[in-house]
Symmetry: C2
Subunit: 148 residues, 2 copies
């Protein structure tokens, strides 16, 4: 199936070119659907929407392309959810560095962050318990390894 030649298609092809992706129908619909989902959808939620336009699409395709989009910076991962629950004993106030490649979590002191969390009133009557700051990046080990 060939992609149609509308304006949206042209800009989508540019986006793919910019990110080194082959332009497929499934990817275009996935991308267009995401543009209409302003929240923080899960793969299942995206799948449900995409399926309305491509009933034969596979959930696996949605997963594969979401990962690819995140990898190439088209999508952003909201929850750096680490695959499984992670806990620690309550101790002193600190935050974390999370490697976007290997997902390793390392402690970082608040003073080393240079951030000044000012507990102020937040929109919508949200009752603040605490801040959790993730510094996302590439850890030293992955910097050495990653030669792709």
């Amino acid at each position: 199936m060939y992609l149609s030649s509308s304006v949206e298609t042209r800009s989508f092809r540019e986006l793919c070119a910019d990110h080194g992706l082959t332009a497929t129908h499934q990817r275009q619909v996935l991308y267009e659907v995401m543009q209409t989902m302003p929240g923080h959808p899960s793969p299942e939620e995206v799948y449900a929407r995409v399926k309305k336009r491509i009933p034969a699409i596979s959930l696996a395709t949605v997963y594969k392309n979401i990962h690819l989009f995140v990898e190439r910076g088209v999508l952003k991962e909201v929850s750096m959810h680490h695959g499984s629950l992670r806990v620690e004993l309550n101790s002193h106030l600190h935050h974390h560095m999370v490697c976007s490649h290997c997902k390793a979590i390392t402690d970082i002191e608040e003073k080393d962050l240079g951030v000044l969390p000012a507990l102020q009133r937040l929109p919508g009557g949200f009752q603040v318990e605490r801040y959790a700051i993730d510094v996302i990046g590439i850890c030293a080990a992955c910097q050495k390894t990653k030669r792709s």
Copy 2:
């Protein structure tokens, strides 16, 4: 099986009393083991360690008690992992409010946070891509609902 009467046991019983928990052998070992795990272990990792001291313990017990400890503030959840992967289209710089009760995620502008992330050199040669700040608390809806 009765808990022994060592110093650790006495302080553990106090901890349980303080948090409204019945003091069981499994919970004490779980807690003591966590004290020797400085990182950010998963339930499986904790289970593996606890099993060395209580070979008959069930994984379900570890899960149940980790959840309970988090609920009562004995443990802290490191990844406010939202159960499933969540993504969004890359747009403007913003952060999130996460409800610790219903896990709802809401956008929040950086200017509304009163935080000043200063991209400075971080320990260990970590190469920063971005900050992700989660303001964790109770959303307005859950504040109304939660009458326990």
